[in-house]
């Protein structure tokens, strides 16, 4: 069967193709399709239940190896980490490896590549000479991978980079064996050379042309972990130098000839429509070129962003709020409570018989928890630059889903997908915000939609930029959620029946599930619709459910008169990975050892994205009741660590991101509009709030897990649990800043005993 025939076979799970470069190098492409994690993002990016990924490796005549990573780097170090995985399997000399994001201008890792081969024009310079027709077909199957769900390393790395690197090594070794007339089994690849015991040696580059003539192996053999020389090391990130001298180019930094700038004036109340506005005085302002109507508002286009923004703010405009002004947090929470009370619910987990379990319990406990909406507040305000001309569209943006963005721009512009060129740029933060996904364009249009609509009306490239106020008030928010527990315990206080009803199920599926050994469980959810746009937020549904479950289990521990660590330990005795993480965090944090007066520790644990994280927070309360987190100890079992420094960095990052939500994070709705607007009223953790962070990894050898998100959801419960120990106040609704935690002298004294 030829490669093309194999490609036509829909059951085929992995594809390898290779071709020579005109300059004498080798280009190897590896594609894999596999079952998708249940996310909206993945469903949008590929067929239902399946996601695809492509990896490209190039060997150049100067013996450098370029690894093209089909992911966005929004600070998580993924481009370096994935290149490390390929280089390790390939036996490349790391000093000769160039990790790169799949090139922007040529839409490298997607089907445009195939089109380029078909018609022979606009072939990316580095691909000239690659004529294997298989690329055409292969590339039609490819899409740029969504960066989300902490999936880069565990999906693309595990299923793409490693086999691609191993395949390249296999071909290089066979090329050397053929050239030297020796068995391949006698040749060794190391540090970008292939050698033979006879003393023969060749660089990868010298073998590349011969290797390109060989068939790639169908099942590349991976190295034993004990032989690793690159993976697991604290390799410096390739993207950092440009981020300390101002040369890094983010979406907001792109400039094209004749570029104009657009600012929006959006109705504060969601779902509003524009009634009228007075364009004349605005068009008379210096630099203003045009006013463009967009759904729910207008855009002002000018020759300088500040002029556009000032003009948009000065516009006299009237909106019709269409009845949506009735929405408030009180109305929303009343709906939540009514939905939970009615219990018209959908199954999440049903195990045993919770009704009988509750009836037979020694006692039961009821509690209701809530979290508010959260904005992402990426440091780079949302922006998108679009140029529509001659039936073609160019779009420049930092996106977590380059292909989805391209598809969306095609749809909104009415220009054929093939004539839309996406130029992915660096993201100044992502956290789930930069996935161009809404549940319907006119319900929740995004900045990408707006930029495209504006560009249709302007004969120039236009950069739409949100102000911070636009960004905070027109995000796709982490949803507000209510969760209600009724739990029965035995005579020792251990849970025997776990009934949980919550509003709105979000990804991932298992976020609300508990790891604890409770015989009877009924976890169900109700649907609750809201006009507030909703989107994934770092660790998605784990953010809310970890706070709920890990706080409530802490309540049960205290009610039982047990140490919260020992209580969890007892309940996790049949979960060895959880138990190891829990026991290690207790040991590393010095759980149970004396603390300075007025301080207490709180503990929490959660498995998310196949990684288990436990955190212990050491907390005190200021005289004004302000929560001060002194130290966080985190223990992480992600199966395997690829880059020990960036892995640590992601855990630090996740904790601080989650700490902002725990202490301050709150988007509230009044009159159908977001009440907060900028950092003064949507507060962020700053230098003075940051605890000492002590991170430890357990390399359990379990299936590799994600790292971008799993540290985030655990911290809120760890801190709130410590607050309870100090103050006796159980916080059942975030953020902590809303609670009067002013310490009482007697409580401080007892906490310190």
């Amino acid at each position: 069967m030829t490669i093309i025939e194999k490609l036509k076979n829909p059951t085929r799970r992995q594809l390898i193709v290779a071709g020579g470069l005109a300059t004498g190098g080798l280009l190897l492409g590896y594609a894999f399709s596999g079952p998708s994690r249940q996310t909206l993002a993945n469903r949008a990016a590929s067929g239902e239940g399946e996601q695809m990924m492509a990896t490209w490796i190039k060997i150049s005549p100067d013996n450098t190896v370029t690894v093209y990573v089909p992911h966005s780097d929004m600070g998580q170090g993924v481009i370096t980490a994935l290149a490390m995985m390929a280089a390790e399997e390939m036996e490349a000399d790391w000093s000769l490896v160039r990790p790169e994001q799949a090139p922007a201008e040529t839409a490298f890792a997607n089907e445009n590549l195939g089109l380029n081969f078909t018609d022979g024009v606009n072939i990316p310079r580095l691909l000239q000479g690659v004529t294997d027709a298989a690329f055409v077909k292969l590339s039609q199957f490819m899409s740029l991978q969504v960066t989300g769900g902490s999936s880069s390393v565990r999906f693309t790395g595990e299923h793409g980079m490693r086999p691609a690197g191993a395949a390249a090594k296999d071909m290089l070794i066979r090329a050397a064996a053929n050239r030297w007339g020796v068995p391949a089994s006698e040749c060794t690849a190391k540090l970008s050379h292939v050698t033979h015991p006879s003393g023969k040696s060749a660089t990868f580059a010298e073998l590349a042309s011969d290797a390109a003539e060989l068939s790639p192996p169908s099942t590349p053999v991976l190295k034993a972990k004990s032989d690793y020389t690159i993976v697991g090391k604290p390799i410096p990130r390739a993207d950092i130098p440009a981020k300390v001298d101002g040369t890094a180019v983010y979406g907001v930094d792109i400039r094209q000839p004749g570029q104009l700038y657009a600012a929006v004036r959006l109705a504060p109340t969601f779902g509003s429509e524009v009634v009228s506005y007075d364009a004349e005085p605005i068009l008379a302002r210096r630099g203003v070129k045009k006013i463009v109507p967009i759904p729910g508002g207008v855009a002002v286009v000018a020759d300088n962003f500040w002029r556009a923004k000032e003009a948009a703010a000065a516009l006299d405009i009237t909106f019709d709020t269409k009845g949506n002004e009735k929405l408030s947090m009180a109305s929303l929470y009343a709906e939540h409570d009514a939905a939970i009370a009615a219990d018209d619910s959908n199954e999440d987990v049903e195990k045993g018989d919770v009704a009988t379990g509750l009836a037979n319990a020694a006692s039961t406990k009821q509690a209701t928890y809530r979290v508010p909406f959260l904005a992402h507040a990426c440091m780079e305000p949302m922006n998108c630059t679009v140029w529509i001309r001659d039936g073609k569209v160019d779009v420049w943006v930092g996106s977590q889903d380059a292909l989805g963005t391209r598809a969306r721009v095609a749809e909104v512009s009415g220009v054929d997908f093939d004539n839309v060129t996406m130029h992915p740029l660096l993201l100044g933060g992502g956290f789930g915000r930069r996935i161009p996904l809404r549940s319907g364009f006119f319900d929740f249009p995004s900045e990408i939609d707006f930029a495209t609509l504006i560009a249709k009306e302007v004969d120039a490239p236009v950069q739409l930029l949100y102000t911070r106020e636009d960004d905070i008030q027109h995000d796709a928010y982490r949803i507000a959620v209510t969760s209600s527990f009724t739990v029965g315990v035995d005579e020792k206080g251990m849970p025997v029946a776990w009934k949980n009803r919550y509003t709105i199920k979000d990804d991932p599926d298992e976020a609300a599930h508990i790891p604890y050994g409770v015989a009877d469980q009924s976890i169900r959810y109700t649907d609750s619709q809201s006009i507030v746009p909703r989107g994934p937020w770092r660790s998605v549904a784990h953010t809310q459910h970890t706070f709920f479950n890990e706080s409530f289990i802490d309540e049960l521990a205290h009610d039982a008169g047990m140490d919260p660590f020992e209580y969890r330990r007892e309940l996790l005795k049949d979960e060895p990975r959880h138990l190891a993480v829990l026991e290690t965090v207790a040991e590393k944090a010095g759980w149970g050892t004396p603390l300075p007066k007025g301080r207490a520790r709180g503990i929490a644990i959660q498995k998310s994205f196949k990684t288990i994280v436990a955190e212990v927070a050491e907390v005190s309360l200021g005289a004004d009741g302000a929560v001060k987190v002194h130290k966080v100890t985190a223990v992480v079992d992600c199966g395997e660590v690829i880059n020990s420094d960036t892995a640590r960095q992601q855990v630090e990052s996740g904790i601080i991101f989650g700490l902002t939500a725990a202490l301050y994070g709150e988007i509230t709705i009044a009159d159908g509009a977001v009440e907060q607007s900028n950092f003064p009223d949507y507060e962020m953790v700053r230098m003075s709030d940051v605890p000492e962070i002590d991170v430890h990894f357990i390399e359990s050898g379990a299936e590799i897990g994600g790292l971008g998100e799993p540290a985030t959801p655990v911290i809120s419960a760890a801190v709130a649990n410590a607050v309870f120990t100090i103050s006796g106040k159980r916080v059942r609704e975030l953020p902590l800043k809303n609670h009067d935690l002013t310490p009482k002298a007697d409580k401080l004294a007892s906490a310190a005993e």
Binding site: M74, G75, I240, M379, P381, D645, V690
Partner: protein
């Protein structure tokens, strides 16, 4: 109005509204994009530059107020520490400690910290907390602190 100032040693004269913030003069009039827009209300520090050696939040600094001033942006930070150096010591420390993640806030962080260090070469943690109030959403703060101390102790 006509406003003149130097940016990284180069003289510029602009005919712009006096109330235009320096940030937008730098980014949209002069094409110096290293200085970032974060909040527009001097709350996050992403736009921090040096005006006559002092850290200023350029999003809330009208150009009329910097007429005749010497401005340094991230693009000129290395040269300001000696033309022969490719990187200022603080930039080298940022690489050594692998500080940036997304990197968007780091121009402002570097400008704020370099101003602090030129005034106070050995700041305490409390002084760092009080002076460096810039926002970083990726949470690079612990590494920023470590990088500052590595420079202080050098």
């Amino acid at each position: 109005m006509s406003v003149s100032f130097t940016v990284n040693g180069v003289s510029h004269t602009l005919d712009v509204e006096g109330e235009m913030p320096l940030l937008w003069a730098l980014r949209n009039e002069l094409g110096l994009n290293g200085t970032k827009f974060g909040c527009g209300v001097a709350a996050c520090g992403a736009c921090t530059v040096h005006v006559n050696g002092e850290a200023m939040r350029s999003c809330s600094t009208p150009v009329s107020s910097v007429d005749g001033a010497a401005i340094t942006t991230i693009e000129g930070l290395a040269a300001a520490h000696g033309a022969a150096e490719k990187l200022a010591p603080i930039q080298a420390a940022w690489i050594e400690h692998q500080v940036p993640q997304c990197g968007y806030c780091q121009s402002g962080m570097l400008m704020a910290v370099s101003a602090l260090l030129s005034e106070n070469p050995n700041p305490s943690d409390a002084e760092i907390d009080e002076t460096i109030t810039n926002v970083c959403r990726c949470g690079t703060y612990p590494r920023i602190r470590a990088a500052i101390h590595s420079l202080s102790n050098a």
